[in-house]
Symmetry: C2
């Protein structure tokens, strides 16, 4: 019997999962990671670990509550690790885990797409709205 590589095993396993199905746990996971704050935090951590206050500065649009909640979920999902240094004041650093690093290219691609195609989307919206208005 040929030896399976880890990637082949993973691909075979993945066949059992289908995010189209309501009861598949991957649909819930897809929902969790389909979140602008998840993409922005992961991309912000791409260059290395950051303190909580640095993340807040990198993402001026985020509230403290939302950032705390996003980081806690990411930590629980194993995508980000939290390191507490017992100093005065206590220092808390966040870093991508190995698993988080596998998601980074996808999160970066979705952010890049938004920045690259915003003008096309804006133009499409103008066309749509003028057609809707013309048909009223």
């Amino acid at each position: 019997m040929a030896t399976q590589t880890a990637v082949q095993r993973r691909q075979l396993d993945a066949v059992a999962y289908n995010a189209f199905l309501r009861d598949c746990p991957t649909q819930k996971l897809l929902d969790r990671i389909s979140d602008k704050w998840v993409s922005l935090v992961l991309v912000a951590l791409a260059g290395g670990s950051q303190r909580y206050s640095e993340l807040l500065r990198t993402m001026p649009g985020v509230s403290q509550k939302m950032l705390t909640q996003t980081l806690r979920s990411l930590e629980r999902d194993g995508l980000v690790s939290r390191r507490v240094t017992a100093s005065v004041p206590v220092r808390v650093d966040y870093e991508l885990t190995e698993l988080g690093t596998t998601l980074l290219p996808v999160m970066r691609a979705i952010k890049d797409w938004a920045e690259c195609y915003i003008e096309d989307v804006d133009a499409a919206r103008e066309r749509y709205d003028s057609q809707v208005n013309a048909s009223v």
Copy 2:
């Protein structure tokens, strides 16, 4: 002066946009496309146009209200086109536009990631929850 290609122009333009900033329109767009139904609809349309009822069957987890709402947003954003055929009953087909096709690989990658790494995420959650419980 060297002639810029369309891609180079696009990359230069993209520098002006930054989804980290609250007031940048790309943050709102990133929010719009960070949606599990957006990924699932785009992936469902990857193989070609589908009727509304076919999409409903492909995505058993979606409600009619959510599917209608998602398709309308995608149409307004220029990612999906809607073709009405005057038959009895009226036939409505949805198809990826050229712009939608540029987003497809990203949406497929996020769905694939969820299906590929669900077990790692589940294991991380178990570890996290048992640590939290142990420290109570």
